[in-house]
Amino acid sequence: MNLALSNLFQDKLRFALSVIGIALAVMLILFLLGLRAGVFRSAVIYLDNAPGSVAVMPQGVKSTSAGSGQFLSPETVDTVSSAPGVDRATPVLAMMAIPELHGKKQAIKLVGYDPAFGGGPWDLKEGREPANDGEVVLDRVLAGRHGFDVGDSFSIAGHELTVVGLSNQTASFAGTLVFARKTFVESVALAPGEASFILVTPAAGTTSAELIAGLRSLPGTNVLLKSQVMENDQQIIAGIFDQVIFLMVAAAFIVGALVVGLVIYTATVERRGEYGILKAIGARNGVLYRVVVSQAAVAASVGVALGIGFAYAAGWLVMSARPQFLVAIEPTAIILTLAAGFVMALAGALVPARAVAGLAPAEVFRR
């Protein structure tokens, strides 16, 4: 181990560069996984905070991620509200809109709700909920980016809207939440009295499963657990993101392994003489492999530890500069990255180990 360490630390700048290289690769892996987890969380933040445990969706609709092009009729809303076992029914009419704010297109999800039934902002930072059509609660981050404050106004689909409140936890890269009265969204979508979905809270003594069984006979609907809709929303996001993210994680992993390989290979080749002497005095290849692997493990360990720190710093930096991005570094991702770092070290040690194994002691002395 001493030989491994002295070999590795012989050139401190080289060691530092190698550790930074590994750390950046690790940071990239962890950051990408954090970004993915953040996108997943943002995708369900509304349903996670909205009331109810059961979701009544239009027939064939299983998620809220994409607009379904279908609405629940006013009669369905009334029927669900008065169904046995229902404590509260929260009809929501949601639609995507792309207003242009300060010359930049901004994706927003306009959530139409009735304050009497809930489904509005759950963490109001400032101001109040919309009392009239044409009033909205804007996400705090979106408002900050465009210099909006309570009392300011902007336009969506030809309608002038006044900001009456600012909400927390509602920013998202793929569609920041903006809350308006349901009647206003109905007028924009030309869908009077209709709803995109109804969130239902079971009455005391009624389980969600019993409620679903009771509501399933409603024509033109698809009744699911709210948690199932959230899972479906995340699966749709996964279908878009995962292939790209995992290809990039794989590339970052190979870069990390190459950095380990480059450093340990150079350190090994520079010390060929010493390794030759060790072989000449009877050291087996196993001993030399241990030296090489120890160096790789030390470089990878320090790099991984630094990389985790870098990932948290990068996450903080990105979320400070662009709060619409949530970077959620989860413990499972860290464990995965630690394992990746270990495999990187082993993969990186392969070439140097071969170089050591191929050493002919006599030849080393002859040179």
């Binding site: 700048l13 080289r14 560069l17 930074i20 290289g21 950046l24 690769a25 990239l28 950051f31 239009p58 064939g60 609709v61 991620s65 994409a66 607009g67 092009g69 609405f71 009729s73 995507m96 809109a97 792309i98 207003p99 930049k104 297109k105 901004q106 994706a107 969506i156 689909a157 030809g158 309608h159 890269f173 793929a174 569609g175 924009v188 979508a189 030309l190 869908a191 009077p192 209709e194 749709i236 279908g239 878009i240 292939q243 790209v244 990039m248 590339a251 190979i254 870069v255 190459l258 950095v259 480059l262 450093v263 290979y265 150079t266 080749v269 520079e270 662009r322 619409q324 991005f325 070439v351």
Partner: protein, 370 residues
């Protein structure tokens, strides 16, 4: 000196291979991510480009199709048709929805087009029916292939079981694809009364799209009117505005990793050749000449890495669609120029560290140390 730089670099081929590989992969990260976005952007306007409309009419304030919803009273189509210079005005329904095919869900831009409409219907139908009748759907070939379905099979869209009557091609991307149902089926499940999403306009021969566009905007209230190129340009701007931040983040991560790999490589190559540099210094070679050698090595490493990275990205662009037709990668000249410029900067920065080492070299001491 140039020869010396090359000889120094290629002397240890394993080291060169590892370092070029590292740079190549780091730059591949940047090129690949950009290629995914460029590929998706190229497909984003495919419906607009192929619909055959000169002018698009949407709800007031709605300038895009992607992630947008437009609702117009159906009577708007008649009002538009009555505008002088308009040859055809076709109302369509549109939503960004899901289709369930063989147990998997796919995001689609779903269009409801009147049967027999001269505009807006499916184009490049690779098989069978030219347009969907009631109870039928036309989906993209890539989605059908991914789901293992073909003509006559069933999918679920708009909550209805629909039969695949035709396949389009070239409309799929990582995010979505284009599907068509009959306007009648779409309207029946949408609810909300007599509503359309857009009105597609074909202008009379000799008229200019811009002039007709202005004329419709002046005549029909509550609408936004754009020429087809304007509409497509708004779509591209949406993707650009939405993806700019994430692309910057990914590029920074890729470039930083590349920088670390190149800096490490050049540093190792230079320090490993200390003795030769010491000899050169003892022979009277100036520091500036030595810096030049290091810089050439850095530029060569990055240059070869960039070529390898580009080759790898092009290879991925060719190979990935054969496994998954939904992913379309496109390496643009713009992206290539940008990555080349940043790579050159990376090479120059990487050459700085060893330059300090060279400046501090004491020729005699080095040679004595052997």
């Amino acid at each position: 000196m140039f020869r010396l730089a090359i000889a120094n670099l290629v002397q240890n081929k394993t080291r060169l291979l590892i370092s070029v590989g590292g740079v190549a992969l780091a730059l591949t990260l940047v090129l690949f991510f950009r290629a995914v976005f460029d590929g998706a952007e190229g497909r984003l306007t495919v419906y607009i480009d192929r619909a055959g409309a000169d002018v698009w009419v949407s709800q007031e304030g709605v300038r895009t199709m992607h992630m947008s919803e437009s609702a117009l009273p159906a009577s708007v189509a008649e009002e538009v048709r009555a505008v002088p210079g308009v040859e055809e005005a076709v109302p369509i329904l549109y939503t960004e929805g899901m289709i369930e095919a063989n147990g998997s869900d796919y995001i689609v831009y779903l269009f409801g087009v009147p049967v027999g409409a001269p505009l807006g219907g499916p184009s490049l139908v690779s098989e069978s029916a030219p347009e969907p009748q009631s109870g039928q759907i036309v989906i993209d070939h890539a989605v059908a292939s991914e789901a293992g379905l073909g003509l006559g099979d069933q999918v679920t869209a708009l909550g209805q079981q629909l039969t695949i009557a035709g396949l389009t091609s070239g409309t799929s991307s990582l995010v979505s694809s284009v599907s068509f149902v009959s306007m009648e089926d779409f309207a029946a499940v949408r609810g909300g009364g007599d509503v359309v999403s857009f009105v597609l306009v074909k202008i009379e021969q000799g008229e200019s799209p811009a002039a007709i566009s202005s004329r419709i905007a002046e005549t029909v209230p509550g609408v936004t009117v754009q020429t087809s190129p304007e509409f497509a340009s708004q779509e591209r701007k949406l993707v650009k505005d939405m993806s700019a931040d994430i692309i910057t983040i990914m590029n920074t991560a890729g470039y930083l990793t590349g920088l670390a790999v190149v800096a490490l490589t050049i540093y190792i190559a230079t320090v490993g050749r200390r003795r030769e540099y010491g000899v050169l210094k003892a022979m009277g070679v100036r520091n500036s000449r030595l810096y030049w050698i290091v810089l050439v090595q850095a530029l060569l490493t990055v240059g070869i890495g960039l070529l390898a990275g580009l080759g790898l990205t092009l290879l991925l662009s060719a190979v990935i669609p054969s496994f998954n037709e939904l992913i379309v990668l496109s390496v643009s000249m713009n992206s290539l120029v940008r990555v080349t410029a940043v790579s050159a900067i990376i090479a120059c920065i990487s050459a700085l560290l060893p330059a300090r080492q060279l400046a501090g070299l004491e020729p005699v001491a080095i040679i004595r140390r052997g």
